[in-house]
Amino acid sequence: MEEQSLGQRLHIDFPLLFAIFVLCIIGLIVLYSAGGQDIDLVYRQAVKLLIALVVMIIVAQLPPAEINHWSVWLFVFGIILLVLVILYGDVGKGAQRWLDLKVFRFQPSELMKLTVPMMVASYLADKSLPPKFSWVLVVCVLIIIPVLLIAKQPDLGTALLVAIAGFSVLFIAGISWRLLAAMGVLVAASAPIVWYFMHDYQKQRVLTLLNPEQDPLGAGYHIIQSKIAIGSGGFYGKGWLNGTQSHLEFLPERSTDFIFAVFCEEFGMLGVLLLLCVYLFIISRGLYIAINAQHTYGRLLVSSLTLTFFVYIFVNMGMVTGQLPVVGIPLPLISHGGTSMVTLMIGFGIIMSIHTHRRFLSF
């Protein structure tokens, strides 16, 4: 046995931890400005971040075999919770997403962002890859059940993310390109059928999603204001605390989903490049860990978690810069808010666990 490094013993991946830390700091700095220089807000967010970091480190201590073992049960548990939400869920903002556990309210769909890729990875891990057609079918069912349950709440954004998390495992597992293309065609073909069965108001929502300028009082307002904020920032930005758009309260949701616009206004293109570098570092570290994982479960799960992390970033930035429809997805580790942060940190904990529990056998 090789001598174990400090990181191995503590089950912490220091490069990843460092990058996450940097992101959190950036997040708090931007939040101070975006939240109208409210130090209490920053303080509360810092406490949430610390709690999430502790959760991450605890998760990292669990051996991957254990995580693999629990994947099925967590998945089943998650499905039961989703059914309970539909039956007894609290209605928040017109959708049933929350389960009131008396002590705290809990959003089971958030949990599914982790358990679905865990389940799929666990299912495929002991099979020889690339997956056979019948296995792909099983995986599709495993993904579609929770996705439909979440979509029924209705929370289309999360349903989409859960689907992406699940299918990314399938992609990494080496599903044949032909099958992938066939699934793509199937999805495209079913779109008009789904459209046919939708209510008029649902259709209206989808149309607004695709063309926000059509709804200048709702989603379109966000986009118009956020483009002004980003564009007026220029290459070097207006400087910290100097963003006029955000400070004059033109930009809605500036501390949550649209915080990237504040970042752009104050730190400019240069800041964006640096921020993307940090994100890219985390992503490449994740992919590196995935390639070097010692078992299929680890490889699949780590790749999937990393890819989903990127999807968050891409969808949020795409939305704020006006390239993608407005769906409520926060910018990972920067946006204000607690729920999605804990999910992300558990994900990083799993990645760290898989990386630091490797055994080096000397023959």
Binding site: F235, F250, M269, F310, F314
Partner: protein, 620 residues
């Protein structure tokens, strides 16, 4: 060997996964490049454009609510209009301490606790940069007082708006209904951006059922504001699309005759045109003032309305359930002819009472000494009960149910306002399910004179009468016959809905029954002969007198209570002209006594007015 293959597999697998990971990395790089180039486009290439926008800024988008469509009577009288009002509004994001602000404002303008409660509630729902109303309906003095002190309050302004007003007040409240402030239940259902500037929504009647037409589409403006948020100038404006104006089928002159007739009484009067279903009169008495509801009625007045014995809030036309009484007889006569149970000339002997074989209970006729030899014509014109006990007994409840349901009894009429009661047309199945008992023969007997379980709404009775007058053609009643647009002047006629007609074995039966109804008014010994005196035209009708439990709100039928509380309700159904009917009425006067004495003269008055105004009175 086995181990070797597994090892090989593993190697192959990890190679495959690694390839896919590299591929994903490549895609990620491409997508990040896309984001970077977009940010480059916005921050570097478009920088100047957005800088100008941000400097001149203070560009805000505010909604412009559409103007709600007006409601007119058939002859063009405005029944619902929009009156200008002023309210005091606050922009939350510009206020540091809301409570302090309210205290300061109280020094100038009176602000009630209820205002503050409502203000704080809507404060939570709106975005921080959206106006929230603190006080509504400022009078001119208050507007002036605030204008003088305006410099002291940044983020507070007087906003002019429009308020719904019903000039005829309670005369049409059961038809038009009213609008009121949007509440939480409404918010869940409505399209949030289309209602972003709207404060009121239809709650009842036409205002509710035609909400989507009346409301119109929201407009918006891009405005430049100063640092305090006050509008400096309008940059771009997209005009709202005003709601459609509605034109009611209501004939105000007839409506007023009906209101006058029911003054200080409880009851309902409906008149409809059998040809197109147009409702000409729609009166439920008493009414109440809808204007009180528009900006929220105070709880004391509301309680008074709720607890009033006269139940003014209930729309008796669509929700009042009354036994049809003898008005059911022409319909039953037709069903009996159609089924071959009676021929036109079949006679029954009426000694003044009827008993079922083997039972002692005597079912009495309203005429103690009896009608003697009675055929169908006499049974209808003189409203002989015994004839119809026997007829109902021989028809049996199944055929009665089947025949009467063709006339829409026990079913909603489908009128274009909501909240309609179904009434009740009893059947064996209904009784087994609702009461858990078998059907008794005696219950069939009293069905023959429209008593017992049967309950109809005045509107159902009017529709059934129109269908009879029409010789089987059924049209759905409607209150709105066309819409018009105040901008484009485009007029749209709304369609007439014809339902499946009633078919019977021999069409002359229609004329037989209608002739009998004509003779109720104009024949020898007709129960409504007094109302037909000196008429320059002919009309057909049927009187009814019903014993009831007021408005049966509770579904449970309690036999004991009826015996105690013996009240007569006066009913009359009628139509004219007899050959080609253009108006059919159903009149119910609660506790009004006999139908011939109280209800029929009202029909005569209405018909006189109608025939005169239409020039339908034949000369000579």
């Amino acid at each position: 060997m086995v181990q070797e293959t597994i090892l090989k597999d593993n190697e192959h697998e990890s190679g495959l996964i690694t390839k896919r990971v590299y591929f994903s990395g490549f895609i990620i790089l491409l997508l990040i490049l896309m984001i970077v180039s977009r940010v480059f486009y916005l921050t570097v290439l478009q920088h100047e454009h957005f800088t100008t926008l941000s400097k001149s800024n203070r560009v805000k988008i505010t909604p412009i609510p559409p103007i709600r469509g007006l409601i007119y009577s058939r002859d063009g009288v405005v029944l619902a209009e929009n009156k200008p009002t002023f309210s005091l509004e606050v922009i939350p994001e510009q206020i540091d301490d809301v409570d302090k602000l309210i205290d300061q404002l109280k020094g100038i303008i009176s602000i009630e606790d209820s205002d503050i409660n409502r203000f704080k509630k809507s404060l939570k729902k709106k975005r921080r940069f959206e106006n929230v109303a603190l006080r509504l309906n400022l009078n001119e003095e208050e507007v002036a007082l605030f204008a003088v002190n305006r410099h002291r309050f940044s983020g507070v302004d007087v906003v002019a708006g429009l308020n719904r007003y019903y000039p005829l007040g309670e005369e049409l409240v059961h038809t038009i209904g009213y609008v009121a402030r949007i509440d939480e239940d409404d918010v869940k259902q409505l399209n949030a951006s289309n209602y972003s500037g709207t404060t009121h929504i239809g709650k009842l009647g036409i205002e509710k059922s035609y909400e989507s037409l009346l409301h119109g589409d929201v407009g918006y403006q891009q405005v430049e504001v100063n640092a305090q948020g006050r509008v400096i100038r309008v940059l771009e404006r997209s005009a709202p699309k005003p709601g459609e104006d509605l034109h009611l089928t209501i004939d105000l002159s007839l409506q007023r005759i009906a209101i006058e007739a029911l003054k200080n009484k409880r009851g309902a009067i409906v008149a409809m045109d059998p040809v197109n279903g147009n409702i000409l009169t729609f009166v439920s008495s008493p009414g109440y003032d809808p204007n009180k509801f528009v900006n929220g009625i105070d709880s004391k007045s509301y309680k008074a309305l709720l607890s009033s014995k006269d139940k003014p809030l209930i729309n008796r036309i669509t929700r009042g359930k009354y036994p049809p009484g003898s008005t059911i007889k022409p319909f039953l006569g037709l069903v009996a002819l159609d089924n071959g149970v009676r021929k036109l000339n079949d006679e029954s002997w009426c000694p003044g009472w009827f008993s079922l074989k083997g039972h002692e209970h005597r079912y009495r006729d309203w005429k103690k000494q009896g009608h003697g030899h009675t055929d169908l014509h006499k049974a209808i014109t003189q409203s002989c009960d015994v004839y119809f006990y026997m007829l109902a007994h021989e028809l049996g409840i199944n055929r009665i149910y089947e025949g009467l349901s063709k006339f829409g009894l026990g079913k909603q009429t489908g009128i274009d306002i909501g909240g309609e009661a179904k009434g009740l047309l009893p059947s064996r199945e209904w009784k087994r399910e609702a009461i858990g008992q078998a059907w008794f023969p005696g219950e069939t007997l009293i069905m023959g004179i429209g008593q017992g379980y049967a309950l109809t709404t005045p509107l159902q009775l009017a529709k059934a009468t129109a269908s009879l007058a029409n010789r089987g053609k059924i049209v759905r009643p409607r209150l709105v016959f066309k819409t018009s647009n105040s901008i484009t002047n485009e007029v749209k006629a709304l369609p007439v809905y014809a339902e499946d007609p009633i078919t019977i074995s021999n069409n002359t039966y229609w004329d037989n029954i209608i002739k009998s109804m004509r003779d109720v008014v104009h024949g020898v010994g007709g129960t409504a002969w007094r109302s037909g005196l000196n008429a320059k035209y002919e009309f057909a009708g049927k009187t009814g007198t019903a014993q009831v439990i007021g408005i049966a709100q509770d579904k449970e039928y309690k036999k004991d209570e009826i015996a105690e509380e013996f009240q007569d309700h006066a009913l009359f159904i009628a139509f004219t002209p007899v050959e080609a009917p253009r108006i059919a009425v159903a009149i119910i006067v609660e506790n009004g006594g006999g139908g011939s004495k109280t209800a029929a003269p009202i029909a005569r008055k209405m018909f006189d007015q109608f025939m005169n105004s239409k020039g339908l009175i034949s000369k000579g």
